[in-house]
């Protein structure tokens, strides 16, 4: 992995509204949280588009939209597309 790539990976909570990218990885030690994220189809390589940050994190994932709270949004790492 190159340094350039690393700089482009951000947790979902640090994206700006409207920013797009692909999910780089899901980062959590909590099995329950991982299960929930998986159930939503939050898996590496899937395109993601942040729609709103407050009061909940809302994002477009493929053809679906999801809302999650801050704790779950922090687990999602996104590779920003330029």
């Amino acid at each position: 992995m190159q340094i350039k790539d690393i700089a482009e990976i951000l947790p979902l909570v640090e994206l700006k509204c409207g920013q797009k990218g692909k999910i780089a990885s899901v980062h959590t030690k909590n099995h329950e949280a991982l299960k929930k994220l998986m159930a939503m189809g939050i898996l590496p390589g899937i395109k993601i588009n942040l729609i709103q940050k407050f009061p909940s994190y809302v994002f477009q994932l493929g053809q679906s939209q999801y809302a999650v709270d801050k704790e779950l949004a922090e687990c999602i790492l996104v590779r920003i597309s330029t």
Binding site: L34, L43, Q52, P55, V58, Q65, Y66, A67, D69, E71
Partner: protein, 481 residues
Amino acid sequence: MPEADDTGDILEISLERIENLLKGDYGISRRSVGLLLLQEDREIITLVKNHEPESFNRIKEIIDRTKTHYREPLSYIIALDRQQEASRIAGEVIAHAPKTSLSLKEKISRMMINPISGIPIMLLILYYGIYKFVGEFGAGTVVDFIETDIFEKIINPRVTQLFASVIPWQVFRELFVGEYGVITLGVRYAVALILPIVTTFFIAFAVIEDTGYLPRLALLIDRVFKKIGLSGRAVIPMVLGLGCDTMATMVTRTLPTIRERVIATILLALAIPCSAQLGVILALLEGHSLGLWVWLGVVGLVFLLVGFLSSKILPGGSPSFYMEIPPLRLPKLSNVFIKTATRVKWYFTEIFPMFIFASVLIWAGQLTGLFGLFTNILEYPVRWIGLPDKAAVAFLFGFFRRDYGAAGLYDLKKAGLFSGNQLVVAAITLTLFLPCIAQFLMNVKERGWKTGLAISVFILFFSFSVGFAVNLLLNIMGISL
């Protein structure tokens, strides 16, 4: 950590070996059973363990060895594989035209989830959907029509006459057509009061539900609900509670943790008035718009405060919120109709016998003097909160159904026995007061005897304490509403 190409193979090899060890018939393919075993599905593990204990240890070994090859849980690896395969298949057959601008539906959806526009939209929906449609139209116009034009003018006099000629004993006549008679009170309340109110509520709820608004409301309110130990998901039983708390208590099953279910059950029992009660309370406070705001403020404050305290007292971590936001849709009339009809039918068959039962119980209570005794006891707390003694009857009946109680207060108001302050205090106390018998039974059924009973005892004391405090505060500050 193996190379990316290997990971699929290790999983595939393990899967094949498990498949060969499985001998039993599970009704699904061995490969599916193997996949579920690798994902450590608890149900299937128990099933295989019981079905073929001889090979289970070998299978367990394979699973454990496979796990060591990966850093993430196997369920995650399998989901990843599955997702890639699904994307590959979908990619072959689906072409996406790049979207140039947001559709109208999406624009409306964004307005609903943005707090600046979303909160006014929420208030508008509650105002027109609940207050105007259920409160004014259902509990006002329709109830008036059925109660006055049908029951008071047509049914009651005829039935009374009929029973007067058939049953010579006053005592038994009272059972059917007396002040608290099965027909004149039980049937009348069920058909004239509850039926139109819950029907209009279920129509409003079905429309709101079918548009896809509820998940949007859930995400909007999640942060507030987190403060009271719930997640945005709990907004569904809470809104449903405005229709029927008993049904809503049953729906708390959809909440993921016991802690959330207990908090939701307490709040439903305490601070969420059901549509029947809401209708009568709105009628009670009619013409006292300031009183209505005080009632709303106190009940809202109790909701948040009790929720906050229970979230501090009850053990367990704070819940997490995640929800799919489906696209907005125009509700289909036939869907709304079928849903409403099914729910009204279910609800009515549930509560109708309970109304009849309550009428009989009240009749028996009156006959034996037991009710007089309870009423006398209840007169003390009723006096403490500054209400006339007669209100005690309303509170006693309130336990049978809260709207029964509220309807009792309504009669007292019509008789001009209440001042503005007393009206507000009575409305607040009765809103918070013990849930109806049906909800109490549901609390016990869903939460167990100990919790169900504890919730009721807490509410009994708490509702009168709040009534006492509000009355005291109004008097000290010299406010008369």
